[in-house]
């Protein structure tokens, strides 16, 4: 850290500090240096989620925006937040109108949790072990896992992203060439679940600290030729991702004789896969041609290959298991090819009239072979005699093709008044989905006018209808399952039981949908230095054919926004936004086995969930100059509050005692006040001070009111703790030197 800072300071010195010997155009820019202190009560990762300042801490403030010029040659250097965990530096040198070179470096933290806990040792590694003498059990109860409380230790979840990029750009007349290379390292620990257990009903899960050791290398080459009437550009991009860790093994705290003669035999040590290495190549050709009548034709053609060929793990990690069936292939051999074509023709043949037509093809071609895997649901020591084709699934090469056509027209019906009409037809064909093809027609109309002086008004309306071919789960089910499995279901329950999802379920991404959007906005500018705006928007998605699944979602919002600058030394703004998000979904609770058909036909086993989120956001700020512009003051205040409710209704047959209880309110509150003042001591030297106040509260029934890795949840040793509310005061002082 010290070395990096030293290098940055040296960089500043070399790149741009004042130098009397330099020529007239010489150095310019600003250099800022200072420090600050944050007082946080209590420490909370949420406070420093992206800057690392989550607890009491002193920090260095530093930044620069420097340049040096000598004729056509120049050198720029910018640095931001060099004393924080989020820091960036950028340097560029070149000859104006001829070439440039740049290097860029950035660090970005992502704090995930500071209240997590686990009983496992080795967080950050790929092998998590239990402390010596830990008593494993069927569940997390004190009787089963008596050592839980004594062995629970905190673990911080955090990722750090470090990115370095360099590039070269050269232009010669109408031709440009650009080469960019980048490497990004992402390291740290995040969350992943580790499961064990023989059957779905007996599954146990352990929240695991997942090691992250990612490297992504990027190469981008661009060549372009530009003329006034025609431009063409060719690009090749490679993104190569590699993960230093292939899998994560963990000692299982669950292990069991469940009593009653039932042995679940969870694995002693289990394994979960981690993201595999992958590559993405992309070739792109783009061009535009200006035509007569103020028309333009532009096109993009791309071909991409996403590939992944990681060695596959065995079906089960348990060395004592009797899994004897080989994995059907040793490597993933996965590839998706992407073809993308976009054509756009626009024209404004006469003043006030415009037309646009567009076509888009986006096609993914999944080269993965449909292969049968006799999978082991979870790692387990249970004998694997059941690994027959009746308990196997096919991996499916899902892909899709989108064909989209667009037509827009604009016409000035009155001075400063434009009417717009638009139509979009969106056709998507999918393989291995319940709906083979969806067709969506969208119609848009909008009017905007500034006909009345000092007032602009806009109205817009959009309606879209998405319809598909018949929703047929067998299109997926028959390809996913083996014939032996389906024969087994027919023999046991009958042909009507050949479904995974409830027959009335309609997955919302392919379901029939009626979409409605409309909005209005008005901006009043009574004087050249003031404005008042009102924005109102409404949207609704109706899934009328979805008897089970998402049935409706609605969004409403209102924004009131004002700004005034009574003098050139003062400006004030304020805004208020209210949003209401509603959704309604229906479920159908049913068991399997002999109850499957009866339950799934019993209308009194339906339930409905109503989601309602109400969000308000306020903002207020001012920018003031005093003392003949020697002093500046910036004040910004924002307040955001949300409350979310989830209510249910349920049919009488779901269980003997179900009268649904409303879930508690989900709540967040965030207040931020920021005040920054600067005073110019000399023409090239300013002193500044800043204060920031942060106040955050949240209530979330999913993680509040219990310790992670505790007895609170029987079948899961959770990892992530609650998000701590916090209150923080931050003070800063700094000097800014202008060259």
């Amino acid at each position: 850290m010290k070395r990096k800072f030293g290098m940055l300071v040296l960089g500043l010195a070399v790149l741009g500090l004042p130098d009397a010997s330099r020529a007239a155009d010489g150095p310019g820019g600003t250099l800022t240096l200072g420090g600050g202190f944050i007082d946080a009560r209590p420490e909370s990762f949420k406070l420093g989620e992206y800057n690392g300042l989550y607890k009491d801490k002193a920090f260095l403030l530093g930044g620069a925006d420097l340049s040096y010029g000598q004729g056509a040659y120049y050198l720029d250097f910018r640095a931001y937040d060099i004393g924080l965990d989020k820091r960036r530096a950028y340097a560029e040198a070149g000859r104006l109108g001829a070439y440039r070179l740049f290097v860029e470096y950035s660090e970005t933290p992502k704090l995930i949790s500071n209240s997590s806990a686990t009983v496992l040792d080795g967080a950050g590694s790929t092998n998590l072990t239990l402390p010596g003498g830990f008593t494993r059990g069927t569940n997390t109860s004190l009787a089963q896992m008596p050592d839980l409380a004594d062995n629970r230790r905190s673990v911080r979840l955090r990722l750090d992203r470090k990115s370095a990029k360099a590039g070269f750009y050269r232009t010669s007349g109408a031709t440009e060439v650009e080469l960019t290379v980048a490497r990004e390292r992402k390291e740290g620990t995040k969350y992943i679940g580790g499961t064990s257990g023989y059957s779905g009903g007996q599954t146990r899960s352990v929240g695991l600290p997942e090691p992250v050791d990612y490297t992504t290398d990027v190469l981008r080459l661009r060549a372009a030729h530009t003329k006034e009437a025609f431009q063409a550009e060719f690009q090749y991009a490679l993104s190569d991702f590699s993960n230093g860790d292939r899998s994560l093994t963990f000692a299982n705290p669950f292990d069991v004789d469940a009593g009653g003669g039932v042995l679940y035999d969870y694995c002693d040590e289990c394994r979960v896969s981690l993201p595999p290495d992958n590559r993405h190549h992309r070739l792109s050709l783009s061009g535009g041609l200006n035509l007569p009548y103020h028309s333009r034709l532009s096109a993009t053609l791309e071909y991409g290959i996403m590939e992944q060929d990681e060695n596959l793990l065995p079906y089960s990690h348990n060395s004592g298991s009797t899994v004897t069936v080989d994995v059907p292939k040793g490597r993933a051999d996965a590839e998706i090819d992407v073809t993308h074509l976009a054509l756009n023709l626009s024209s404004r043949p006469v003043a006030g009239f415009g037309l646009r037509a567009g076509y888009r093809l986006y096609k993914t071609e999944n080269k993965l072979s449909r292969t049968l895997f006799r999978y082991v649901k979870n790692d387990t020591a249970q004998p694997q005699a059941a690994l027959t084709e009746a308990h196997a699934l096919y991996s499916l090469p899902y892909d899709y093709t989108q064909n989209q056509f667009k037509l827009d027209g604009t016409y000035s019906v009155l001075p400063a008044t434009t009417l717009r009409l638009g139509y979009v037809r969106d056709v998507i064909n999918r393989d291995y989905r319940e709906v083979e093809r969806t067709d969506e027609d969208s119609y848009k109309v909008s009017v905007s006018t500034a006909y009345v002086p000092n007032l602009s008004v806009g109205l817009d309306y959009m309606q879209a209808d998405r319809r598909g071919t018949d929703y047929d789960e067998s299109l997926l089910y028959d390809k996913y399952h083996t014939q032996e499995y389906m024969d087994d279901v027919v023999a046991t329950l009958g042909a009507d039981a050949l479904f995974d999802n409830h027959p009335l379920m309609r997955k919302f991404d392919v379901a029939s949908r009626d979409r409605l959007r409309y909005g209005a906005n008005a901006t009043l500018t009574p004087t050249h230095n003031s404005s008042l705006s009102l924005f109102v928007n409404y949207g609704k998605d109706d899934y009328k054919d979805s008897a089970v699944g998402l049935r409706q979602s609605k969004t409403s919002s209102v924004t009131l926004d004002g700004a005034i600058a009574p003098s050139e030394n003062a400006s004030v703004y304020a805004f208020y936004t209210w949003e209401d998000l509603k959704a309604r979904q229906r479920g159908w609770a049913y068991n399997g086995g002999g109850s499957k058909l009866a339950h799934s036909a019993d209308a009194d086993r339906k339930w409905t969930a109503f989601h309602d989120d109400d969000i308000e956001t306020w903002g207020l700020g001012a920018k003031l100059s005093f003392l003949e512009k020697k002093a500046d003051l910036d004040v910004d205040y924002s307040f955001s509050r949300s409350s979310g409710s989830i209510r249910h209704t349920a049919g009488s047959d779901i269980s003997s005692a179900v009268i649904p209880t409303d879930l508690p309110e989900l709540r967040t509150r965030l207040k931020t006040l920021s005040v920054t003042g600067k005073y110019r001591l000399r023409a090239n030297l300013s002193v500044g001070a800043g204060y920031r106040y942060d106040d955050f509260e949240s209530d979330d029934w999913g993680n509040d009111n219990f310790e992670p890795s505790s007895t609170a949840v029987t079948n899961v040793l959770t990892l992530v703790g609650p998000v701590s509310d916090y209150e923080a005061h931050t003070g800063m002082v700094f000097l800014t030197y202008s060259l």
Partner: protein, 312 residues
């Protein structure tokens, strides 16, 4: 693929042959853009403009344009405002091309900028949704003063250029789960190209997912067991502009998952208030911690031979 290998170089060659064959062009036709400037001569000296517009010229001097024009054969102020000969001789608004003049149609104003900038990320401006909405370059950019570190935006913070119209996005960024835009580590242009492009929603790449993979390459795969909605569009489940649910999710799990999954036993069950910690009933693991993801942790797809249920 083989056809592509043959066709692509041919198409590349054709484009560049065409590019070579076409004339280079000679910049804006000022007589068409502003008939009052027809036959006007170029003054070619910024200091003449400074006689009447000293503040503008002084602040303009700090901008990238001021630095570049002298080395690109440009005429500084007149590169954008047209020949000022008549304007200097007879100072009036009529004799100069003004970007403030509301009677000048947007495509004319934009045409001036595009005469140099119609290439690269701005190649698809014409016909883009912002073009159709009659936005002008100076709706978002201000070239007379260096207000932002890069890009000559109207405000120091480039996001505020977008928030002029996209008011809801400004509010969304205040939500608990958010990408680091309000911390200044990203801006809207990290994902979007406001100048237009071949992707949906003015995205920089051809699809939503290809945009997300730029930073989340570990989710790119492809994988042995794909989760189709995740492969097709990350925005099926995530709201990238901000959410009050963890991981930018649109609806809180398990309800998000139950929007598509109603399989026998636990996926179809009702998860109501009695099943949380302290709710009075037996706690459902589908409601607490990571909800469904406590077990189905590989929800973006799994590469494990035993991963069809996304558990490993």
């Amino acid at each position: 693929m083989k056809r592509g290998v043959v066709l692509l170089p041919l198409v590349v060659a054709l484009f560049f042959v065409l590019a070579r064959a076409l004339p280079a062009g000679s910049g804006p036709d000022w007589g068409v853009l502003n008939p009052a400037q027809k036959d006007a001569s170029f003054v070619g000296d910024r200091s003449v403009c400074a006689n009447c517009h000293p503040q503008y010229v002084e602040s303009y001097g700090e901008t990238l344009h001021a630095r570049v024009f002298p080395h690109r054969g440009g005429a500084d102020c007149e590169s954008c405002h047209g020949p000022a000969g008549k304007h200097v001789a007879e100072p009036s608004r009529e004799h100069i091309f003004s970007f403030k003049d509301r009677s000048v149609r947007p495509e004319k104003k934009n045409g001036v900028c595009l005469s140099c900038h119609e290439k690269g990320i701005r190649m698809h401006w014409k016909g883009s949704s912002h073009d159709v909405a009659n936005l002008t370059c100076n709706s978002c950019h201000y070239v007379m003063e260096k207000r932002s570190p890069r890009g000559l935006f109207v405000n120091e913070d480039s996001k505020k250029a977008c928030f002029q119209c996209h008011k809801e996005r400004r509010a969304q960024l205040q939500r608990s789960s958010h990408m680091p835009l309000r911390e200044g580590l990203m801006d809207c242009a990290a994902c979007h190209n406001p100048h237009g492009g071949p992707g949906p929603s003015l995205l920089k790449t051809a699809s939503v997912n290809e945009t997300c993979y730029q930073c989340h390459a570990e989710k790119r795969g492809p994988l042995l067991w794909e989760h189709p909605p995740a492969r097709e569009n990350c925005a099926n489940c995530h709201d990238p502009h901000g959410s009050n649910y963890e991981s930018l999710l649109k609806i809180r799990p398990p309800f998000l998952c139950q929007s598509c999954h109603s399989v026998q036993f636990h996926p179809s069950n009702i998860y109501e208030g009695s099943k949380i910690v302290g709710g009075g009933g037996s706690v459902a693991q589908q409601l607490v911690g990571k909800a469904c993801l406590n077990c189905h942790t590989q929800v973006h797809g799994s590469n494990h031979p035993s991963g069809p249920r996304f558990q490993r």
